[in-house]
């Protein structure tokens, strides 16, 4: 019975994986077909491995948009992980007046839908003269309350004995945080970084709101604009090539931080 269950479970997981991968594989294969091949249809594999679509998109604005997205996503990820983690540690460990009230306020703010704050945030950004700049995107993404909440829970469950040992070894609160806590929190930091990077990289509404000039477009905006343009000429290979390249950074970030990510999941799953 248990073997049958295992087979069923594996079968389900395999089906789920195929279902998830199929659109991506479809996009990769389509990106290597010619426009005619796609229009005629009837074949899964391309007649020849043609990377022309990739060459073509890299010659246009795509490269600039890619770089824009990458620089914004990296800046936001690094600065947001830094600020979220510091805030979470303070909320979890430091005793200060108003700490509990501050945390409750954050919890209330987390419940406010982003659509509600979108226009006021834009007005603030515009008055600061930051409309149509990447700084607008970065500044409005510096703090992630959900990440603060996640990290606070992590620090609350963190073994206080180790921090006390550091205190006895002559560490201040900041030194303990930097020298002892952060290295031990790498899995949580990596998880946070992956989520933040993915969030910024895939963000569409915010760039649409703040960025208006084509040169400052992020990749999601650029791909959207290009898709509209290429749809008219049915250049699906170009659209698919752009989509495939846009997924690569997320894949690389995930692969790079995967071992930490798995470690955290392992720990929260009742491991050590």
């Amino acid at each position: 019975m248990s073997r049958l269950l295992t087979y069923l479970l594996h079968g389900f997981l395999l089906g789920y994986a195929l279902l998830t991968l199929t659109p991506f594989v479809w996009a990769v294969l389509s990106s290597m077909k010619s426009v005619q091949e796609i229009a005629v249809g009837g074949r899964i594999l391309p007649l020849a491995l043609d990377f022309g679509a990739y060459r073509q998109i890299l010659q246009g604005d795509f490269g600039r948009w890619f770089f824009n997205s990458l620089s914004v996503a990296l800046t936001v990820t690094i600065s947001s992980v830094f600020s979220n983690t510091l805030a979470a540690y303070a909320l979890a460990r430091l005793r200060f007046r108003g700490g509990a009230a501050l945390f409750q306020t954050l919890l209330i703010i987390i419940m406010v839908p982003s659509q509600v704050t979108m226009i006021p945030a834009y007005l603030v950004v515009a008055r600061l003269g930051l409309a149509d700049t990447h700084l607008a995107l970065i500044l409005t993404s510096l703090v992630s309350i959900s990440a603060i909440f996640m990290m606070r829970q992590f620090f609350i469950n963190f073994r206080a004995e180790v921090e006390e040992a550091a205190k006895l070894d002559g560490c201040s609160a900041l030194t303990t945080f930097v020298r002892i806590v952060l290295p031990m929190a790498l899995p949580a930091l990596a998880t946070q970084a992956i989520f933040i990077f993915m969030g910024v990289w895939n963000e569409f509404m915010k760039p649409l709101l703040y960025i208006s000039s084509v040169d400052n477009y992020l990749l999601t905006q650029g791909l959207n604009a290009a898709a509209k343009q290429y749809e008219k000429s049915a250049a699906w290979n170009l659209i698919m090539a752009g989509s495939v390249v846009s997924v690569l950074p997320i894949l690389l970030v995930y692969l790079g931080l995967n071992r930490f990510f798995l470690k955290l999941n392992d720990q929260t799953g009742g491991g050590k």
Binding site: V162, E164, K167, L168, D169, G170, I180
Partner: protein, 372 residues
């Protein structure tokens, strides 16, 4: 030389009293064990001395200097935690050297101290490993080594053996006793709920109790050498806590005060005696009489008991017996292996082995108790 002195220390969290009226002096080089049940504040007391909990009232002196407002790192104490508290991302060597490097010590001195501690605790071959690659016992040795390299005036141990299995616990206990002999002048303060550890390691035992709702209760029940606590428990709490299995206790009344064998009382219709000082007692006063299971003679005597349960421990057995007309069981230790549940036994409670406690729980001084 270092003495740790606590004067009137008290701590309340919210409305819950944790510690009250703690007055204690730990002599230089002394091995002092805080023992008591869960919630008695023994670990809290250690943390107060370490400087990890700073909101207690009272005065704390280390080596003659008041340290109430001194940061933990400047108190010249080292602590070994129950969960080891090693830095998992550092090697054993880095763990041991961390505090010394933070203090700005020279490389040569650090290397010398590391060598010495690693040799003392047999850690030479593990220096480049990370804690995750060590067994529980090895991790605890690293935690002790990390304390030793600091050459502190006071060592603080917070239940350091409770995460180890039985055989490793004995091994590490012997190791700690050996270190105490070697380190000489440093005082060691050790928290445990295990009375075997307390009895075997301590020069001095401090027995603590949970404060509960009694506003007059004091945290410290008794301070003394291990065998003093065993032979001369100050009250019923100490009598119940020290000794495994716990002391047998029976409620009775005083029949006479000045008989040759001691204070007379009645049990199972027989007139028995407890060799205790009768000072302050009066005839007819309700008292509690106690005797340790190892002092009950379960092969002769005028009392009778029936075996209800036997726990065979190998070298001896613990008999659970019931005396007719007496509330509660009578436990006895015996080497006899021929007894079975349901057997009837003659029982004798020697007067010199008996303890007598008054209505408020205070013990009467024993007259011929052996003390070491």
């Amino acid at each position: 030389m270092t003495a740790v002195v606590l004067k009137d220390m008290a701590l309340t969290r919210g409305t819950t009293p944790i510690l009250r009226g703690v007055n204690l002096r730990v002599e230089p080089g002394e091995f002092c064990v805080f023992v008591g049940p869960s919630g008695c504040g023994k670990s809290t007391l250690l943390r107060l001395i370490a400087g990890l909990d700073e909101d207690a009232s009272g005065e704390l002196f280390i080596d003659g200097a008041a340290v109430n407002n001194t940061p933990a790192a400047k108190r010249n104490v080292a602590m070994v935690f129950q969960g080891y508290a090693l830095y998992p991302h550092m090697t054993v060597e880095a763990n041991m050297a961390f505090a010394l490097r933070r203090a700005g010590m020279g490389k040569a001195e650090i290397a010398a101290r590391l060598r010495e501690a690693a040799r003392a605790l047999h850690l030479e071959e593990f220096l480049q490993r990370k804690p995750a690659m060590l067994s529980g016992g090895q991790r605890q040795r690293v935690a002790i080594a990390r304390a030793i390299v600091k050459k502190p005036k006071v060592f603080l141990f917070d239940e350091p053996l409770s995460n180890l299995d039985a055989s490793l616990r004995v091994e590490t206990r012997i190791e700690i006793a050996r270190l105490h002999r070697q380190l000489g002048s440093a005082s060691m303060l050790y928290v445990t709920h295990d009375q075997v550890e307390a009895m075997t390691l301590a020069d001095k035992i401090v027995l603590l109790q949970p404060l509960g709702q009694d506003p007059l209760a004091q945290s410290i029940v008794q301070v003394g050498r291990p065998m003093e606590l065993y032979h001369q428990p100050a009250n019923l709490f100490a009598a119940r806590f020290i000794g495994t299995p716990a002391m047998n206790l029976f409620e009775t009344r005083v029949l006479a005060l000045d008989e040759p064998e001691g204070v007379a009382f009645e049990l199972q219709g027989q007139r028995l005696h407890a060799a205790v000082d009768p000072a302050g007692l009066s005839v007819g006063e309700p008292v509690t009489v106690g005797i340790r299971p190892e002092h009950v003679l379960a092969y002769q005597g005028g009392l009778g008991a029936t075996v209800t349960h036997i726990e065979a421990l190998g070298e001896l057995s613990v008999l659970f017996t019931q005396m007719e007309g007496v509330a509660g069981p009578l436990l006895a230790k015996t080497t006899r292996e021929d007894l079975r549940v349901g057997d009837s036994l003659p029982v004798h409670l020697p007067s010199q082995a008996l303890h007598l406690f008054r209505g408020d729980g205070r013990a009467q001084r024993r007259l011929r108790a052996r003390t070491v």
